[in-house]
């Protein structure tokens, strides 16, 4: 019975001691310790969150970069395409122009040539005419140097002339 009967003295001292223990530990031990532990946990969690955020940011940046790259590539392609079209057009235009110009020049040349040809022909005709006249004069002069031949010719001519 004695063993299971609490004694007032010990109850009193235990209460007082436990109260003191509780107050001192709560103030000087648990508060800083729990504070430090939760502070550290919070900082670790913060760091993890930050790492996660950084990872997200990284992924976002990479995505953005990719998108930008894609866009740039597409733009470049577009520009190239446009340039090509333009080039083609310019080349085509140039070709066309050149052709036209060439044709025109050829035409002009032909006209000139024709003109020159005509002039030359005319010249040649004149020369031929004068040459043939000269030749004919010379031949005639030779032919008619002696009077017998003249007579023979006349006789021939007369023979031809039939009245």
């Amino acid at each position: 019975m004695e063993l299971v009967t609490p004694e007032i003295g010990l109850v009193f001292w235990t209460s007082v001691s436990f109260f003191i223990l509780f107050i001192i530990l709560a103030k000087f031990a648990w508060k800083p310790i729990m504070g430090a532990i939760s502070e550290r946990e919070r900082s670790i969690e913060d760091a993890l969150l930050k790492a996660e955020a950084a990872k997200d940011e990284m992924a976002r940046l990479t995505n953005e970069n990719d998108a930008l790259l894609k866009q740039a590539r597409a733009e470049r392609d577009l520009i190239l395409k446009e340039a090509k079209v333009l080039k083609d057009q310019i080349v085509a235009d140039a070709k066309d122009n050149a052709q036209k110009e060439g044709a025109r020049m050829i035409e002009l040349a032909r006209i000139e040539i024709n003109n020159l040809k005509a002039i030359a022909m005319a010249d040649v005709k004149n020369q031929v005419a004068s040459l043939s006249l000269e030749i004919a004069e010379k031949v005639l002069r030779k032919q008619f140097e002696d009077s017998s031949k003249q007579d023979a010719l006349v006789a021939d001519l007369l023979k031809e002339v039939k009245l």
């Binding site: 019975m1 004695e2 063993l3 299971v4």
Partner: protein
Amino acid sequence: MIGSIAALGAGLAVIGAGIGIGQVGGKAMEGISRQPEAASKIQTAMIIAAALIEGAALFGVVVSFLGLR
């Protein structure tokens, strides 16, 4: 005399508690072997249950103390 009878009663109480704690422990082991990932939860629950059963046995022990002069 009273002390001895109280001690016998305490012994009887301990038999019951022993069976009870044995059951708790055995079932907990089964549970852990079935679900090893829940081991810590099962352990906590097991200790609580064992403590409650043990409390009953300890009442028997205390009764036997009461018999001591």
